[in-house]
């Protein structure tokens, strides 16, 4: 949500429309389809599944029949056509492979499902093979494909759980990282723990709850569709069963691209534009300076990777709602309506920390969030947070809602930690928020086709 990808427009998926001049598949009888040899020619997955999904054809084909058709390469032929049109905004596919993992500097889709896992099996081999299997499944799912081929054996559970069948790729990204606990003595990797991957110190105002903290492995799924995101986490945890267990999860959202086709800076649940002063994700120089770990930074296996801080920050919604507009704006140091720095007109006007009012008082209060977070401007982070709403707090009857704060930086010891230390002690915002969850992860560098996530470490 705090991501500054302002020109990130919605995706419109057109790939599934029948070609002009063709009778739509659904209107052909089964015999016609057979006669036209349809089952042997290239059919997109969606066409095929739509066909199978409607009662009649579904029954005729049968589950076994459908599995067999997939196996019989119909889908295999269709795949390249999908890939050919993989411009992010038309196909909704964000490339899983690349120099860096997707889901960090790529535009923020509408939803997030974050999951932290703990490893239960003790061997590095088993972890390695898990990451190999996860890589293949994740790459397929971000293309909108099922996690694997169906076996065609109806004595087995289906390979893919099926709820994303027929859904578009939805700009899904799946991003992996490992936490400090991953480098204990279980896998013989203690010596490879990056110095930057510290356990966070206690911060002022923390009220951390164990059920939202830590984790050996982080999996961040972002998608324009919550069902697609759920499908991804569900299938990854299924593949991991017996090797990893879920430790905690958190869902999040921001305004959808349907509600805001312009893609303006999203507002957080306190009503303020959030993400205005983010570094420019399109600038490779800026990203290398702020986000991507570089050769010489410490652990070589992290070159091109990044460190991720996750904080589940509950908002005291009810308290905030009875604070005055003036208080709210002083808290952040920005105007609520425009997002402009106090005393300025427009959202992207420069933040002038020296500006004073008629009485000589700073326009942007000394303990305002923006001033403290900005500091002297030398330490920056890439924020990529989402709002969350997790129902009600049964103890108080109040809303459990807030910000799933996520940021990426090159070295948390120099960027996120000092920043949060300052904020935790003095931020005016602390009256309205409380940090309930916390985790720190080293997100692997990107992976090339044929490779697997975590290769440089394992």
């Amino acid at each position: 949500m705090e991501n500054g990808n302002r020109n990130d427009t919605g995706n419109s998926t057109k790939q599934d429309q029948p070609q002009a001049g063709e009778t739509p598949l659904l209107e052909q009888s089964f015999e016609e389809r057979q006669a036209s040899g349809l089952l042997h020619k290239s059919v997109s997955r969606r066409e095929l599944l739509k066909m199978a999904g409607i009662g009649g054809a579904g029954l005729l084909l049968g589950a076994a029949g459908l599995g067999a058709v997939f196996k019989g390469n119909v889908f295999g032929e269709a795949a390249p056509a999908t890939r050919a049109s993989s411009r992010p905004n038309s196909s909704g596919i964000v490339d899983f492979y690349g120099t860096h993992q997707a889901g960090i500097a790529t535009p923020s889709p509408n939803f997030i499902l974050f999951a932290a896992f703990d490893v239960t099996s003790g061997s590095l081999d088993s972890v390695r093979s898990l990451f190999q299997a996860w890589t293949a499944a994740a790459a397929a799912m971000t293309r909108g494909e099922p996690v694997g081929e169906e076996s065609g054996n109806d004595h087995l559970p289906p390979t893919d759980t099926g709820e994303a069948v027929g859904l578009s790729p939805s700009r899904t990204t799946i991003t992996f990282g490992v936490g400090p606990s991953f480098f204990d003595n279980r896998f013989g990797l203690a010596g490879k723990r990056p110095a930057a991957l510290v356990d966070f110190p206690a911060f002022g105002g923390d009220e951390l709850r164990p059920e939202w903290c830590g984790g050996d492995i982080a999996v961040q799924v972002c998608s324009d569709d919550m069902q697609v995101a759920f499908h991804a986490i569900r299938n990854l945890s299924r593949i991991g069963r017996g090797k990893v267990v879920l430790r905690w999860t958190q869902e999040g959202f921001q305004r959808t691209s349907a509600a805001d086709p312009e893609g303006a800076t999203p507002r957080n649940l306190l009503g303020f534009k959030d993400g205005t002063a983010n570094p420019d994700t399109a600038s490779e120089t800026e990203m290398s300076e702020v986000v991507w770990a570089q050769a010489g930074d410490g652990a070589n296996w992290m070159n091109g990777g990044t460190y991720m801080a996750v904080r589940r920050v509950r908002m005291r919604i009810e308290v905030w709602d009875r604070s005055t507009l003036a208080d709210q704006e002083q808290t952040f140091g920005r105007h609520r309506a425009s997002g402009a720095p106090l005393g300025s007109r427009n959202e992207f006007d420069a933040v002038d920390l020296d500006a004073k009012d008629a009485n000589g008082k700073p326009l942007i209060p000394l303990n305002s969030h923006v001033r403290l977070a900005r500091g002297d401007g030398s330490a920056r982070i890439l924020r990529r947070s989402y709002s969350y709403s997790s129902g009600m707090d049964n103890k108080t009857g109040q809303l459990d809602a807030g910000l799933l704060f996520i940021c990426f930086n090159r070295d948390s010891r120099k960027q996120f930690i000092p920043m949060q230390q300052k904020l935790g002690q003095s931020d005016l915002l602390n009256e309205y928020i409380v940090h309930n969850g916390s985790a720190h992860f080293a997100c692997f560098p990107g992976v090339r086709q044929g490779g697997y996530v975590g290769e440089t470490l394992f």
């Binding site: 049968g62 076994a64 067999a68 076996s151 054996n153 109806d154 017996g242 090797k243 267990v245």
Partner: protein, 287 residues
């Protein structure tokens, strides 16, 4: 779940008879569409099922016979008003049933008659173990439970008689192991099975033993077909059995109320870790 089993039995026998509708559809789907069912029976025939099925039948008959003998003692205690003995015998007796639950569930209404919990069936139809459990632990008496005790013994005997008629299909064995663990994960690990006596861990252990029996019988075939899968199942069984052993107390198990949230979570995760690879055992039936 009971329904699931009935359907499964039916499906399995249809497959054997070679008239599954899937077979026809598979043909229609063209060359790539050789039906899963026919593949399944083709390669299933390479496994010599007869001795496996025989051993399992023998195992379930033994369990059922002991179940009757033990139920007899339990019923006698209830009818003579010996509430302490009745309470002691309750959970161990049930274990003989829980080990072979898939078979019982395939046999019509017997499972609800023996094992329904309060509100699973209409009150007028509610009988069996859990009705008596409520007398013993909630009302703290045997008075009024005598008729239910008699019925329970009759139902146990009908179960044994009906077992003679059931044909055990390979598919029933393969899915039966998973179903036993599903039982554990949906009611025993949550403490919903034994609401009044809190003896859930006895059922838990018995379900796992029942699944283990099936796995042991299929293991040699599985090892031939998919050694990695076999290893993964073997390890997961050991992990679960080791964890369960921590909750042993005397000849039995601690009360469910002694478990903390982290205990049930750990057990539940170990069940899932085992049931997932176990659900792939169908590879010995199919392609």
């Amino acid at each position: 779940m009971k329904k699931g089993w009935a359907v499964l039995l039916l499906a399995a026998s249809l497959t054997a008879a070679g008239c599954s509708s899937n077979n026809d559809d598979g043909g229609n789907a063209g060359n790539g569409g050789a039906s899963a069912s026919s593949q399944a029976s083709a390669s299933a025939s390479t496994v010599d099922w007869a001795p496996i099925i025989d051993s399992y039948r023998q195992f379930s008959v033994e369990q059922a016979d002991t179940f009757i003998a033990e139920t007899d003692k339990f019923v006698a205690a209830v009818k003579s008003g010996d509430i302490d003995t009745a309470k002691q015998l309750y959970a161990p007796t049930r274990m003989y049933y829980e080990r072979i639950e898939p078979i019982a569930e395939a046999l019509g209404d017997l499972d609800p008659d023996i094992d329904a919990r309060e509100n699973d069936v209409e009150d007028k139809d509610w009988r069996g173990f859990h009705r008596i459990e409520k007398f013993l632990w909630v009302d703290n008496t045997t008075a009024g439970a005598e008729d239910y005790a008699d019925r329970l013994l009759e139902d146990a005997k009908s179960l044994r008689a009906l077992m003679e008629t059931v044909e055990i299909e390979p598919a029933l064995l393969v899915t039966g192991a998973v179903e036993l663990l599903n039982e554990v994960s949906s009611s025993k690990v949550t403490g919903e099975e034994e609401r009044y006596s809190h003896t859930d861990l006895y059922d838990f252990a018995a379900n796992v033993e029942g699944a283990r029996k099936i796995y042991d019988l299929l293991q040699p075939e599985l090892a031939k077909k998919d050694a990695a899968l076999d290893t993964s199942i073997g390890t997961s069984f050991t992990n679960l059995e080791d964890a369960l052993a921590d909750y042993k107390s005397g000849d039995g198990y601690v009360s469910y109320t002694d478990l903390k949230e982290e205990d049930t979570k750990k057990l539940s995760q170990l069940i899932d870790a085992l049931a997932e690879p176990l659900s792939q055992m169908g590879v010995i039936l199919g392609a």
